[in-house]
């Protein structure tokens, strides 16, 4: 459930991107909703909804996503304001991490009989 499920509507890299729908006029803008389940947990993306402004987006999010005490805190973010990495550039974007196995503890050969290492 992590990461935004809804792509920003204007991402031109997205092969599946909808043609910029005139939804601003037809319906309320889209908001992404993040809920903190309880103290000690981070906010997690739970879905999206439409609302005319941030205040109503919060109220709608409460009614849609926390009817059974699923959260103690809610964030709402305009979907248009989310900048996402592009799936088309995924390989080159994440490539720098691929050849750095020495970042992992298992990379290092150490004697087996050393404790707490």
């Amino acid at each position: 459930m992590s990461g935004a499920t809804n792509p920003p509507r204007t991402d031109s890299h997205d092969p599946q991107a909808p043609a910029e729908v005139a939804h601003q006029e037809r319906s309320w803008p889209l908001w992404e909703v993040f809920v903190r389940g309880k103290r000690g947990l981070s906010h997690v993306h739970v879905g999206s909804l439409h609302a005319p402004d941030a205040t109503l987006a919060l109220r709608n999010a409460r009614d849609v996503y926390t009817r059974r005490q699923e959260g103690v805190s809610i964030w709402v973010v305009r979907a248009d304001d989310v900048t996402a990495s592009s799936p088309a550039e995924k390989d080159s974007f994440f490539d720098p991490a691929a050849d750095k196995v020495y970042r992992h503890p298992s990379f290092y050969d150490v004697p087996e009989d050393v404790e707490y290492l």
Binding site: P7, Q16, P18, H23, R26, D63, R67
Partner: protein
């Protein structure tokens, strides 16, 4: 409810039903038998599903303890699906190509490349599902003002609000495929997209609210639990939320009938009549036959290959019948099928032929309530237009003011 008629909800409760009037007519005994009867008389399997408090407070969390699992949907199948997902998430390395992801039983996410047919199939199915949820508010909404007690009314309001919420989860999932919700509503309003034909049957008595919860929501859970493992991520995630909430719906329906069946003769007759009318339409909810001869031609084969669908209609229907027969016996309700009997050889219940002519007729628009349901939906949408516009105007004004003061 936030979408179609925002004006009707204040603090999550429909304004139109804020006037609580208790009707103590022929149903005045409602609730008493349940309170008088010890829990131990309930099927142990139901007991295991978690406690429902019949005493004390009337509202909110006393009905279902939020810390208890929301069960009924949390069957072995559900657990398997959840476990499967945990496991699947840790796998990887199959690349991002659609066919490879499907073959590895991985999830497809909104921005992944996908065949146009896959996208279309999902849009159609998720939209139809979303439409069913919001049209499904009407049959039971019909009884909110006439619920037999304040307790029943509060529960029914919560249930109908859940249906609205389910519609919203699903429209939200559909929108990740690049369609606009308003466009989907337009397609519903002008009949280009369907909703489940079950909601074209009327709710004639209070017992119908019980039968809908028990049979219709029971069938919905059976249908929907496998969708928690659907290959399309946002749909699967929406279904997990929906299934958890449906469990409450099914249990409250069972409890309505359970109470009626231990009431007066008239109340028992009412419960039996509701079961008689809803049993066959509930079986038809699983869709036309799609195994054996009928495998070809329908959507099932392709949808299964894509991991959108996990079980054939016929298999789910059989599982539903097997689950419901013992529950009906427990209730003391006779299911209206003379051919219904245990088949030792198959290890399943045999049941009679479903009237598919009726199914197609209702689906095509000639059911008892088709016109009424759509007319009501359109009216609610149109009458809510001024609220949506006013909210837009207010938002624009506030935005302009913020801009001014910043300048």
């Amino acid at each position: 409810m936030v979408v179609p008629v925002p004006v009707r909800m204040v603090g999550g409760v429909p304004v139109g039903v804020l006037v609580f009037v208790c009707h103590h007519g022929i149903l005045s005994g409602d609730g008493d038998p349940a309170a008088a009867s010890p829990r131990s008389t309930v099927d142990p399997a139901l007991d295991a599903l978690g406690p429902i408090s019949h005493t004390g407070l009337m509202y909110g969390n006393d009905v279902i303890d939020p810390n208890e699992p929301l069960n009924a949907a949390e069957t072995a199948v559900y657990d398997a699906a959840a476990a499967h997902d945990d496991q699947r998430d840790s796998r990887g390395g199959v690349g991002d190509e659609f066919d490879a992801l499907i073959a590895a039983d991985q999830r497809i996410e909104p921005r992944d490349a996908m065949p146009e047919k896959y996208r279309e199939t999902l849009v159609r199915q998720i939209a139809q599902h979303a439409h069913s949820e919001i049209i499904g508010m009407q049959p039971e909404g019909n009884w909110i003002s006439r619920a037999p007690s304040l307790r029943r009314k509060a529960i029914l309001i919560a249930k109908v609000q859940d249906e609205a919420g389910h519609g919203l989860y699903l429209y939200s999932a559909a929108e990740t495929l690049g369609v606009d919700r308003q466009e989907l509503l337009d397609r519903l309003h002008d009949g280009r997209q369907k909703y489940s034909s079950i909601f074209n049957y009327p709710t004639l008595t209070w017992a119908d609210c019980g039968a809908i919860g028990w049979l219709v929501d029971g069938a919905a859970i059976m249908n929907q639990v496998p969708l928690c493992r659907c290959s399309y991520g946002p749909y699967a995630r929406a279904m997990i939320r929906v299934c958890k909430e449906e469990s409450f719906h099914q249990r409250q329906g069972f409890e309505i009938l359970w109470t009626l069946m231990r009431g007066t003769e008239a109340q028992q007759a009412m419960a039996q009549d509701a079961a008689d009318r809803w049993w066959w339409p509930a079986l038809a909810m699983f869709g036309p036959p799609d195994t054996g001869e009928a495998t070809k031609g329908g959507h099932t084969e392709q949808s299964m290959a894509w991991g959108i669908k996990r079980f054939a209609n016929d298999d789910l229907r059989q599982r539903f019948v097997d689950m419901m027969v013992p529950q009906a016996e427990k209730l003391g309700v006779v299911l209206p099928d003379p051919e219904l009997r245990w088949n030792d050889e198959r290890g399943h219940y045999d049941f009679g032929e479903i009237d598919w002519d009726e199914f197609w007729q209702v689906l095509r628009g000639d059911g008892p309530c088709n016109a009424e349901r759509i007319a009501h939906r359109r009216r609610a949408h149109e009458e809510g237009a001024w609220v949506r516009e006013a909210a837009n105007a207010y938002a624009a004004k506030q935005a302009a003011r913020t801009k001014e003061s910043a300048a």
